[in-house]
Amino acid sequence: MNTGPQPLNPLRDPRDKRLPRVAGPCVLVLFGVTGDLSRKKLLPAIYDLANRGLLPPGFSLVGFARRDWEHQDFRQLAHDAVKEHARTPFREDVWNQLAEGIHFVPGTFDDPGAFEALAMAVKELDEQRGTGGNYAFYLSIPPKFFQEVVQQLQASGLSQPSEGSWRRVVIEKPFGHDLASAQELNAILHEVFPEESIFRIDHYLGKETVQNILALRFANNLFEPIWNRSYVDHVQITMAEDIGIGGRAGYFDGVGTARDVIQNHLLQLLALTAMEEPVSFAAESVRAEKAKVLSAVRLPKDLGANTVRGQYSAGWQGGVKVRGYHEEEGIPPNSRTDTYAAVRVDVDTRRWAGVPFYLRTGKRLARRATEVALVFQRAPHLPFAATDTEELGQNALVIRVQPDEGVTMRFGSKVPGTSMEVRDVNMDFDYGESFTESSPEAYERLLLDVLIGDPPLFPRQEEVELSWEILDPIEEYWDKHGKPELYKAGSWGPKAADEMMARDGRAWRRL
């Protein structure tokens, strides 16, 4: 058997665009199989990948959890999760193939015996199903267990790849809760796994619309010439959620929405929006540009005037009476955790000097919406009577990340009639309406990239640390000054956020 490198596969041809990338033989070991993420996203995504023919023959999935389960029980859980949440239609054949490769190893993270059993199990899969000794470990568990698990993986020899095989470890946010803890977490992982085999999942980066930011900017000639301080007045990046914290009180309280959302999702969106053109779309080039622009982010001197945090109080959200944050189960009555955060930052580059970036996120807001909006300067001269353009706002280019994925352009147009009256109109490009059935879930894309070993969509440790460097001073300031302002559930956040914009002579877009 020739096991040497074979760089040229004669059946592959760059012109052959019909052939998708398919993962090589491997086992995915899933820690935390009973969690929400695993049931709602990961297991369905694995099925969808199988259904699309993107998983290799013999692909195997091993669940590990503290349950007294047989393989059959885990298969049942997976079956139910797939039936309920999978994007693609349920096919008995595909499921049967997949189910044969689904195994379960019961155990706790502190039990070396359980990890030895796990090692035996994957080895057996290599022999029975030809998975080639390639293992990806998906840690869908709270970060406090990471240390224990990776050390057990090392002790049991699972983390050591044999000649010609690979090991990968996948972790989800949060990547720490500040710079120090992020570095500590990283050190724990690095003790056992090298950086190139660590895949940090920020599921936003797997979304089609987020990837489309790069296509929109760098594949077109229409936008890039105006994508700078000469034309852009300011940028608003928003992630609004209509839900409260639900059952996540234990995780959320003390962390807050700034750490939960701004540090990863919003700063990643900022990086993609503000970065310079990478020399290529190779992982290293894209990450280098992202790191560059993140390192150029500057916080305002007066944090008090340029940051806002809030907490939702009881109110009516979308026709339903909902509780305030303090009344949520498991939240201490004196909690100062933010459920809304808005921050102004600047990007110190030639392209963006003097163009503020406003980031905001919140829970229990009026509507669920994530978008990046570039708001343009007003025309330098309007050859119309002032009364004609009273209703004309600023032009905007909006990348709608979710829902209704797409792009909106807002510009002025003449109102039909005898007078010259100009009013804002919207021009929409809609992914959501027509492409939803075909566009894969973010997790499908990301899982496949992990199994193939394709890193561009995963943030590097450097980006994580740069993001914490941006957020840490804000969190420190908040710790020492004041407390979150209350806002009514179902509204668009605290008044202070509107006042913050008004001081700059601007206003939030109403979403």
């Binding site: 058997m1 040497g4 592959r12 041809d13 052939l19 090589g24 023919g53 059935e437």
Partner: protein, 352 residues
């Protein structure tokens, strides 16, 4: 909304389309292409259904052109459907009399401006798609060799008339097989010396798959007959044994490699709508299809394309090299294509 227009003109059809759009309140955005379906009354229902399904992935205007009786007076009947079954718009045109000869004059004004046009013949393929009046309007011309009674003969004609932008469902149907084969060869393997495709008789997809393998691997590749359904197996002969993918039931494939356990994977046969959706995904010429179909045409000389027994084909090929049997019809097997003289042993697979 459904609008029927009898004895009409394209002008009235366009008016009906925009009136329907206005009344639905939907803007004219999002149509990425025009799909022209050339079909007959009997098969229009299935063709429209498949197109509408595919339009969910590729929002488009579907123009169905049905030729009715060529005798009698020229007449155009149209049926406009907007927002009935999915995104996009469907116009069903029925042509009578002499107008059938001038279908392009009806279709041309109805194309969505400044977007690609795809022509699809779900039934019998024309001899020269690119020279058809409606084929010439299109960037992509999609035929189905299986639509007629002589699939292999049709495919050969299509190969001879190939113009950039042509493709055939016989090719689309094997994307799953090709994906699996390519993924298989992503893994380390020994030198491949021959290949064999097993399929039910007169299967144009099997012929194309064999031609593709032969072209890419530079080894002789034969097609042998099985009981189907469709393609039932592909066998790549290597120096230490066969890499085989078998799919006896049309649903689940088994991958066997020397010294490795068998692995199974679902490999189902796809419905027309999915094939069409795949075709609409790329609108540039498919050069890999061109290479495969030309190779197929080159190696196909006699009328007997497949024979039931071809067990020794792989061995023969290794011993003799393909060049000597370029004619293909010699002996009991027909080679889908002759192996080129310069690399008879599949040297491209291994560089180390």
């Amino acid at each position: 909304m459904n609008i029927d227009l009898t004895n009409t003109t394209t002008r009235k059809v366009l008016d009906a389309l925009s009136a329907a759009r206005h009344r639905m309140g939907g803007p004219a955005t999002g149509k990425v292409l025009t799909l022209v379906v050339l079909t007959e009354e009997a098969s229009q229902y299935d063709a429209v259904r498949a197109s509408t399904e595919a339009a969910r992935e590729h929002p488009c205007r579907i123009i169905v052109v049905i030729g009715r009786s060529p005798h009698g007076e020229s007449r155009l009947d149209a049926e406009v459907r907007v927002g009935e079954t999915g995104p996009g718009e469907t116009v069903v045109l029925r042509l009578y009399g002499q107008l059938i000869e001038h279908a392009d004059s009806v279709v041309l004004p109805l194309l969505v401006p400044d977007t690609p046009v795809v022509a699809w013949w779900p039934g019998i393929a024309p001899d020269k798609p690119a020279e058809e009046a409606l084929g010439a309007l299109a960037q992509r011309r999609v035929t189905d060799a299986r639509g007629g009674s002589d699939p292999l003969g049709t495919l050969k004609k299509l190969a001879e008339a190939y113009e950039p932008g042509d493709t055939d469902f016989a090719w689309t149907r094997i994307t799953g097989w090709r994906t699996l084969l390519a993924a298989t060869l992503d893994q380390p393997h020994d030198d491949i010396t021959g290949a064999r495709v097993e399929a039910d008789p007169h299967n144009p997809s099997a012929a194309l798959l064999a031609a593709w393998l032969s072209d890419r691997l530079a080894v002789p590749c034969t097609v042998t007959e099985s009981h189907g359904p469709g393609i039932t197996g592909v066998r790549l002969t290597t120096t230490v044994g066969d890499i085989a993918i078998t799919r006896p039931d049309g649903r689940v494939a088994t991958l066997s490699r020397p010294e490795q356990p068998d692995r199974q994977v679902a490999l189902h046969r796809r419905p027309t709508s999915e094939l069409l959706a795949e075709e609409l995904r790329r609108l540039d010429p498919d050069e890999v299809y061109r290479d495969a179909v030309l190779r197929f045409a080159k190696g196909l000389d006699g009328p007997a394309q497949t024979t039931p027994e071809a067990e020794e084909a792989g061995g023969e090929a290794e011993a003799g090299g393909g060049a000597a049997k370029g004619g293909g019809a010699a002996g009991k097997t027909t080679e889908a294509a002759a192996a080129p003289a310069k690399a008879p042993r599949g040297g491209r697979g291994k560089k180390s």
